[in-house]
């Protein structure tokens, strides 16, 4: 098993796990459940991008991964500041 195969296999497993977490994003009874699920999905995406950067030998994927890691945080903070009761963002 070469290193490239190992990284690609890990990426495939992480995508399957992401699909599983999607269940919580769609079903989640409260908004916070959905935000948590999307946050986990975002972390998985970042990790998959980093893995593909090594496996496909293109360092530019790391740029995208870095952008994603930062925007994922923004998304979670923004949605959690949207309070459902008042329907407002402070």
């Amino acid at each position: 098993m070469t290193l490239t195969t190992a990284f690609l296999t890990t990426a495939a497993v992480l995508v399957v796990l992401a699909i599983a977490v999607l269940y919580r994003a769609v079903k989640g009874p409260t908004m916070q459940d959905r935000v948590i699920a999307v946050n986990v999905l975002g972390t998985n995406t970042v990790v998959i991008l980093a893995l593909l950067a090594v496996a496909l030998d293109s360092e530019s994927f790391l740029d995208i991964a870095l952008v994603y890691a930062l925007l994922n945080f923004l998304m979670a903070v923004a949605i959690s500041k949207f309070t459902v009761k008042r329907g407002d963002v402070i």
Binding site: L3, A6, F7, T10, V13, L14, L17, A20, V21, Y23, R24, P29, T30, Q32, D33, V35, I36, A37, N39, V40, T43, N44, V46, V47, A50, L51, A53, V54, E59, L62, D63, A65, L66, A69, L70, N72, F73, A76, V77, S80, K81, T83, V84, K85
Partner: protein, 105 residues
């Protein structure tokens, strides 16, 4: 690439996949928002950190390793903060924590 480094990469990848799997199971199976936020912040951060550490090792001493290291640092800063924000929002909204005997939500 020497044998020790290759072995370390495989171990880190296996550990990362294991912890990410645990966090996915937790997010799907745990009963309420707070427990899910807990698994999302801790287990998922650890899993992602281990896999990115494997990526850092695979790059070795190239210049690209700086981006991978930054990724590691920012995952460790942003992920728990996001979970904190979500948990706080759930508390502000008045969602009761799950206790033993309650129905699963």
């Amino acid at each position: 690439m020497n044998e020790i480094r290759l072995g370390a990469i495989f171990v880190l990848l296996a550990g990362g996949v294991f912890f990410t799997f645990v966090s996915a199971v937790g997010v799907i199976r745990l009963p309420d928002v707070y427990t899910r936020a807990h698994t999302a912040s801790q287990t998922d951060t650890l899993g992602a950190g281990l896999v990115v550490a494997a990526v850092v090792l695979a790059y070795g001493v190239e210049t690209e390793v700086i981006k991978a290291l930054l990724l590691l640092v920012f995952i460790f800063i942003t992920n728990p903060t996001a979970a904190h924000a979500v948990g706080r929002a759930a508390y502000e909204e008045g969602i009761e924590p799950w206790t033993k005997g309650d129905e699963r939500r």
